[in-house]
Symmetry: D2
Subunit: 112 residues, 4 copies
């Protein structure tokens, strides 16, 4: 694979990482932070694995498929939790996570 | 510089990253999470820059001093906030941050 | 500052991280890898600090200016080295690094 | 699980990340860098996933087992390549990768 083949998945990973970081920080500014604790924890994991995935794809690494497979799993978990909350930052994060999961699942399958 | 010269600073960075990640997650499990919001936010930044610093030192990078200088600044900020809270995870984190700041400041000066 | 204020700098950091990772991996596939050794080493540092900066900005962290200041320094160093090599991946990386440095310098000044 | 349960695996991840970063940088200083290209590429991936794993475990994240499972896979791949080269940094890296893979596999199983 070459960089062009990875581009849409890299974009989705970067968008998801940003949405997760924004959601985590915004959750910390909510009135009831306690209710958002699991959301914040999953946001942290998800943003970090998205950045790892963006990097291995940008390097066209032989590990890209394996990392994307994990990334999809963490994105699904984060999307599910964020989707429960009605704040804009949570809903936007859930959408970005779902889109990233789809891209990563596609990438993981294509690379097999 | 060689890896041996960096070892005690790398160890301090790894210990600090772990203390910050543990503190962030433990703060999220506290009864009054809202009070811990700034602590959690600074923990996130600090653990990430500590891992970056550990990596550039392990690569004996020419950028090691510059990264250590930033790491020390973020460690000082985190130590100051964590030090205000009496929970064990906060006090341990504050101590790890102070120790890491000292090591990073020493490293940044030695490399000039 | 809010997320919108950071957007163009985050985009530049993501683009730079991708260009650096692509450049590092492409350098490793060149015939004369030895000539590219410093380029690869600086690419590694630069991509990692760019992802750190993207994250702290996405969290609208109080540390954003300090991290952007370091990011600009590492981008300038990487741009200078990459700019010496005529391969497309190096020239594209040098351009992405310069653009990211400008955005990060602007961000660091604006936040003071 | 609590932080103490993760400690030996976190230590192995930190040691492996350091060995990989040191190996990558040392490979770049070898006379025949081209022969080391795959080793360097795998070192980069491995050090990054090790630091991600150390972080999720330090946060006692519900994603810890999944991340450790991926970490073990990347460690095995890196150990196999590094093991082919006789330089000290490669042999030390291969040993650190194998030890980290064992710890991560144990962690992934224990958490199921």
């Amino acid at each position: 694979m070459k960089l062009d083949d990875f581009q849409s998945c890299i974009d989705a990973c970067n968008a998801c990482a940003m949405a997760c970081d924004n959601c985590a920080a915004s959750c910390l500014r909510e009135e009831d932070v306690k209710m958002m604790a699991r959301c914040i924890a999953l946001d942290m994991d998800c943003s970090q694995v998205c950045r790892l995935a963006a990097g291995v794809m940008a390097r066209a690494s032989e590990n890209a498929a394996a990392v994307c497979r994990l990334c999809a799993v963490l994105c699904r978990a984060c999307a599910e939790e964020c989707g429960k909350h009605q704040m804009d930052h949570c809903q936007q994060c859930a959408a970005a996570c779902r889109r990233c999961a789809e891209e990563c699942e596609r990438m993981a399958s294509a690379s097999q």
